[in-house]
């Protein structure tokens, strides 16, 4: 039985939140926000409507006639994708212990993820280019 060393009680400074703590908080906050956002998105796109109803004109009316859906989709894009990328970082840290591979994979995930978010943001701001569609979009109603 090893002797337990006697250590004088000491006070430790309070932990100042650093990156990892902020990311933990982000995962909780974005996760809770994503429950109504993502479940609502699924209900609208897969239950109330379905992939047979959806086309470029559907997206056009959703984004242009009902502007707030763009805000909704922007929230989904940023919250869900950053939440997912941080989750991927945890998975890489769990399974890939070789320092080089670990850094390389996380680098690829970060750069690729940033690119996807940029592409998504451009499309969200640019909207549907109806003029490029052969038939255009008929007016609603």
């Amino acid at each position: 039985m090893a002797a337990i060393p006697k250590v004088a009680p000491r006070t430790v400074p309070a932990i100042r939140p650093r990156l990892e703590v902020w990311l933990w908080a982000f995962m909780r906050v974005s996760g809770v926000l994503l429950i109504p956002l993502a479940f609502g998105h699924l209900a609208i796109m897969h239950i109330i409507n379905n992939v047979h109803d959806i086309n470029a004109c559907f997206v056009y009316y959703r984004w242009n006639v009902l502007f707030w859906w763009r805000v909704y989709d922007a929230l989904l894009l940023f919250l869900a994708y950053i939440h997912g990328l941080n989750g991927l970082r945890h998975v890489i840290d769990d399974y890939v212990h070789h320092p080089g591979w670990n850094q390389a994979l996380k680098g690829v995930a970060f750069i690729g993820g940033a690119l996807v978010i940029v592409i998504g943001t451009i499309a969200l701001i640019g909207g549907v280019r109806v003029a490029a569609l052969p038939a255009g979009c008929p007016p609603p109603g």
């Binding site: 090893a2 996760g31 993502a38 070789h98 499309a123």
Partner: protein, 161 residues
């Protein structure tokens, strides 16, 4: 005794080394997949495995989905082709799996978040009950969803082709 250390049996040492030096992503993953059924973490472990698989699956689809929706700006005519692909029954099956993934990841994540802010709930017996309630909530939401979506896939995707 001073200076003594616990030495693990040879087999355990090998397993640890394999996990530590999973030096190619593939080799490490194979070893991890072997370890999962050996670690008897009961329902808690399976909730975690399902959460991870569902999260990765959702991230994969999310990447594809952001890029295909971006086509409405970059190449609207291609967007119509992409959507036509999604109407195939095989993608319908993927859609069912995706909705299940998002539902489980959301409900299970809610359990984890609530437990994080009420640490007493992290007791293993309480967690086992909470996970069972999460499964009940998942089934209550997923079974009707499965039939509604399955009906659409059957009517429009398979019979209406």
């Amino acid at each position: 005794m001073a200076g003594s250390e616990v030495v693990l049996p040879e087999e355990a040492r090998k397993r640890w080394r394999a996990l530590e030096w999973a030096w190619t992503p593939g080799a490490g993953l194979g070893r991890v997949l072997q370890e999962i059924p050996q670690y008897r973490g009961r329902i808690h472990q399976w909730a975690w495995v399902a959460n991870r698989v569902a999260g990765l699956g959702t991230l994969l689809f999310l990447t594809i989905h952001i890029l295909d929706t971006a086509l409405v700006y970059f190449a609207p005519t291609w967007y119509e082709h992409a959507i036509a692909l999604y109407r195939h029954p095989l993608f319908g099956l993927g859609e069912l799996i995706l909705v299940g993934c998002v539902l489980w990841h959301g409900l299970n994540g809610l359990r984890i978040t609530i437990s994080d802010f009420r640490p007493r709930l992290w007791a293993a017996e309480i967690q086992a009950r909470l996970i069972l309630w999460t499964v009940v909530a998942f089934l209550a939401l997923y079974i009707p969803t499965f039939f509604i979506m399955g009906n659409t896939i059957l009517q429009k995707g398979i019979l209406g082709r």
